[in-house]
Symmetry: D3
Subunit: 280 residues, 6 copies
């Protein structure tokens, strides 16, 4: 495995297997630059097969979590509207522009595909692409001063890198989801907790990050076979009928039950000791 | 566009593009008569391609929001049990009766298909077909004295114009959904807010309608391309996997990004002015 | 209909049509033994076509609701890892082990398939397979001292008899769902109520069971055609698009509207009397 | 029922219940004009609930079956590129243009939705929109001199009113389907028969139309409940898994088996007479 | 395993693992009696986990393959129209009648679920339920004098135990499928071969059965892990997108590749010997 | 664009936009080595956005088209059974082995995703992985001496890189598909043509390759917007209902109709000249 060296992210991996990923463009308010999309993709794609990582926490460095898309940088991306020169017609440009949107969607879906749980720890502002980002995470925590905004309608477009697909599936209040998507209203942490966008609120950023890391360590201490299976099967379940999910699960566990981990867990339980599971 | 003249609905369209639709059978407690189904269908089908409408609010005139189906009127509908005379067999009658149910379903789905957000503002009672109706809206607000009732089991039938399909997808508490669908229990506004059936409660009908209209004006002030895209994509997302939703969104925006609205929004932002978007 | 005689369950059926099913292995903390899976399957499969049962309540006898899987008993089940002797290879064993998981899934899905509403009444602990069990019920109530735990990761495996499929669909807070599935954290009743896992909390087990039975009697007093239709259509809706659910519903009711129950309900309403519906 | 008076179609309905629909723009080679799309929609929508129609045959008057889209007429359609004036941006025009394509698709799907079988009888040329049209029919017959052409790529576009969706599902040779869709090659009747695009070839137009009418009369002599059920269920099956199709079929027949037709058929069989079924 | 003793079927299992199942009601022309549905279900459900069976051939004893449903016997089945007495209303009867249709569908689907390939060998007539039956098999062979008939419309109903779901998916000529389903026309073997309903035609029943048994022996000589996997994955593929099928296959083989059979095959190949695979 | 330099493939691109890709391991009978999978992936991924390529032909150099998987090479691939050392348990190895199968599947799906039509030209033997490969192409042609074999059961496994998903969807004779998948029987070109696996047979390899290149040139001469749209929509249609395919198509063409190509085509038609379309 190469080191996790990214210009827009810092990554620290603890011996317990917890990766702390920080959005690291504090001067630019952690806005999503062209490079940051690539770094997110590279980071979580590598974690997928990195046995040393069992769980990840994502937080933002500096004053806010993220201001959303770095629009100035985005429009300079030559692939933004396709590879074509200005003379190409709309159909040709659109054909390539679609690839560009796919690519950014894929950068965030890398978190979902990596099978290791990802905990988002949000302080202060989380705008636009930031909401696309955190809805692609598994668990969302925030500080009391945090606020969230599905900002896209304010720049004349529909959110297109995940919010419209995932927000209604992570929050059980469709009336609220639609209101915030149509109005771009800023949502404070307290309201986000009440509707279920986040599942924990903390006084300070320090407390929140610490809580996130403790939660991540707990997860990292479990059988990695059990944890990645659980994430993979929850994602499968979301997109299938209950019956299809059950059938896929039965096949999955017919394989996964061949791990040593069930024996390890039982032995530890008998010996009243903490189980230690081999890496995956 | 013809004027919005309906015997069971009143429609006022503000210059800002907000349509205020009122259920207008106060003497009949806004019960869903045969004509009202047709009027709802006609009203929202027309709004779909009416550039002057960007967002709609639906409220009820008179004492209550709606008493639900006007059963007396319904049974006089010659298409209710199909076009057949009494001598037709059950299979033949049922073949046509199915069309009748489809038609009423379709009347409510017209709100969903119109792509402009619809805000339901409920005061006092909302019974039976009223719940089918409001779950087909985007956003639901209510007064403190409002109460909701999935009444159908009490008249010996399962709800069949939308409640059973949409209620579980707009509310994130399946245990509650099933309880109210099996028991026909009346649910007060406070409880409806707690489970997420509604996303706002107001003291009086006046306050609520005003708040709904203000929210609608906010939505109407946004790029209409962005708003209809957002509604269309949220509805698509609900019925597809995350991956399919993302792919459809990429194609949608490869077209929608050709609007002038992103430029308008950016220019307004640079000039610290309010953006004004052309009609759609 | 044979009597409901099961070694691990007690079943009492009231004249009103309410079946009270009790998990009845109090000495084993109502852990799911090999026999209990079979008994659950047999019990609810029989109720499906038992006209005397219109609604069911499930509670646990003894100190706790259930400790989850009876692991000791499970590993003695000759079909647990397939029918093969020890010399069979992993592919062969896995092929049969998959059938075993399917079978246990199917035992719980029998509650879903039986079309009569099932109310879970949980006191004290509900662990592991217990969560798979109650998410397969329609309505979940609990005592103040109840606590829930998706225990499977702690024994080195992903939950595979329903929790990962159903929990995210009965609770509208995905962040919370994932946290409890990855950490095996114990969730108290108050929290379970807040996120929507349960829809009612009661001081004591007696109060809760009484409330559950009263609710079940209310349901049992409704038209059985309406109630089973409602359950069947809600389950169908969960697994289909809104449009497909509507079409299936129209067909269903084109048949179901031929019941006598709508007439019975209307006549009772006119006569200001309580309707009494024939058995289904 | 109003008479079937259309400017682009002639419709004759026999006492046996066979509707003979002829594309009737011979001077324009039966090209699909704006009016013809509307007439097709109106004709088959009416047949859906017309008890006097049990089966339909479609043929073309004049020299050829159809030359495909009447491009000159199409571009004059004000809704062709949306309702907008020339100054509207591409996103706005495209939003409405999509409705236009939907509408034409819907005109052809009216044949599918009408539930009465439709037999296409093709002589000579069947080009472009003609292939979209005939793949929306149930049965396809042709004369020896017939030839087919998926013409759209030759006018710089992908076929968008049905061919790309239906052709691969009515023909079991995907290699051939793709070849003819990419190359716009003309396919003679003999080849169309070999790959299964058509299921019968006849020497002359007269022979073919006669054979089609005889086949239609045979179908019209069967139980109309059985025939419309069969068409409806075949269309459902195409778009669902086998298991879902079976479940829908069981529900459908639980209703349809209440027809008198099974008794009529059995009685006729016992009496060795031809059964006569009441209209649907 | 109990012996395969059925009153309507004879079963012979060869040492090579080929089960020859014969429909054995020659006096009743192998019509599907109430008992025969049960026997088919029991026979193939048992074969699913019977290591001694690797492939099955089904033929008919006596003059014809099958005359289809034994209607006289069927109507005497107390569950045919539900368990209810004559006084029950149509909704109540229909609710139970649906279970009856499900059950018969399930009897035939047992062949699909058993994962061992089933070869149908058809001589002379194959009518109605016989077509439902053979489309649930994997491979279809016939004699020159065989003929097939989707007979259901002639008795006033739509086929409801599989033909409408499976026939269009096993035959690549939808025009032909619909013609034979709407007309109940008898199809000779030669035509059945041309459209792909069958994949082999033989002069006599003896030749055909011998060829079927030889083919079955060939299949039985292959790795049983490879063969059941292939059948299971082909059935899965039919009901899913290509991408979903690929993902399921990858998971399946991540388990199945742990069989000894790949090593056995390679070793035999190196030694130029015939591989012998252990039972599954 | 980098040059198409691959050790296992040769690629020649004509000025007309036809890429001729040759499998180029003649000494190894064009068996699929680890490198060849990567080269196929790289080659077609690059063609996706290479404006100079409009259509591709794939043929095999040397004596045969391909012998299938290069098993010796495959087992030396360190990722073949996951990255783990021998001591890892089956669950851990299987988790990674699944990724390996996914990767090879993905290499072939690159042909499907590239949106430019791919014509397979098969001479002599096409075994195992070769069938997975050609079913991922759009059009299949062969020489008279060609023969095809779904070889996987003979090496003790189910085909897992596409054959079981795609073969039943490109061939309309399911009985035949299953026979050849269960028996690994060699199928001559004539039979492959009859069942629709291929759509053209040629005397010699030279004739076939020439015919394939001529067909590719024809395709390359059409509007590239029309051609890639057609391929993309055919693939979408295969995996969706007809209605969903139509809706996606309407959106697609609302964008694609903004190309210059429809104007170019019409102008050329008026001027009776050959249209020349700009690159995509």
């Amino acid at each position: 495995m190469p080191p996790y060296n990214f210009s827009t992210l810092t990554v620290e991996i603890s011996p317990a297997g917890v990766a702390h990923v920080q959005l690291n463009r504090p001067k630019a308010l952690n806005a999503f630059s062209n490079q940051m999309w690539e770094d997110i993709h590279a980071c979580f794609s590598q974690m997928k097969t990195d046995s040393d990582v069992r769980c990840a926490v994502v937080s933002g460095s500096g004053r806010i979590f993220t201001a959303g898309l770095d629009l100035k940088d985005a429009v300079q991306n030559p692939t933004f509207s396709g590879k074509h020169d200005e003379s190409a017609d709309v159909a040709r440009k659109g054909y390539y522009h679609r690839f560009h949107i796919h690519h950014w969607q894929d950068c965030l879906s890398a978190m979902e595909r990596c099978d290791k749980p990802v905990i988002a720890a949000v302080h202060n502002a989380c705008f636009g692409a930031g909401v696309d980002f955190i809805t692609g995470c598994d668990i969302r925590l925030a500080t009391e001063d945090a606020y969230f905004c599905v900002k896209e309608v304010d720049i004349g477009m529909a959110a297109d890198v995940g919010t419209l697909q995932r927000l209604p599936k992570v929050v059980g209040n469709d009336s609220w989801v639609r209101e915030v998507c149509y109005t771009a209203r800023q949502v404070p942490a307290k309201e986000a907790l009440a509707v279920g966008l986040i599942s924990g609120v903390y006084k300070t950023k320090e407390e929140m990050v610490k809580a996130a890391l403790v939660m991540a360590e707990t997860i990292a201490s479990k059988s990695p076979v059990a944890v990645v299976s659980t994430k993979h099967l929850l994602n499968h379940a979301r997109d299938h009928t209950v019956q299809e999910g059950l059938e896929y699960t039965a096949l999955w566990n017919a394989l996964a039950h061949n791990s040593k981990d069930m024996g390890v867990a039982m032995m530890a339980s008998l010996q009243k000791q903490k189980a230690t599971f081999p890496k995956l």
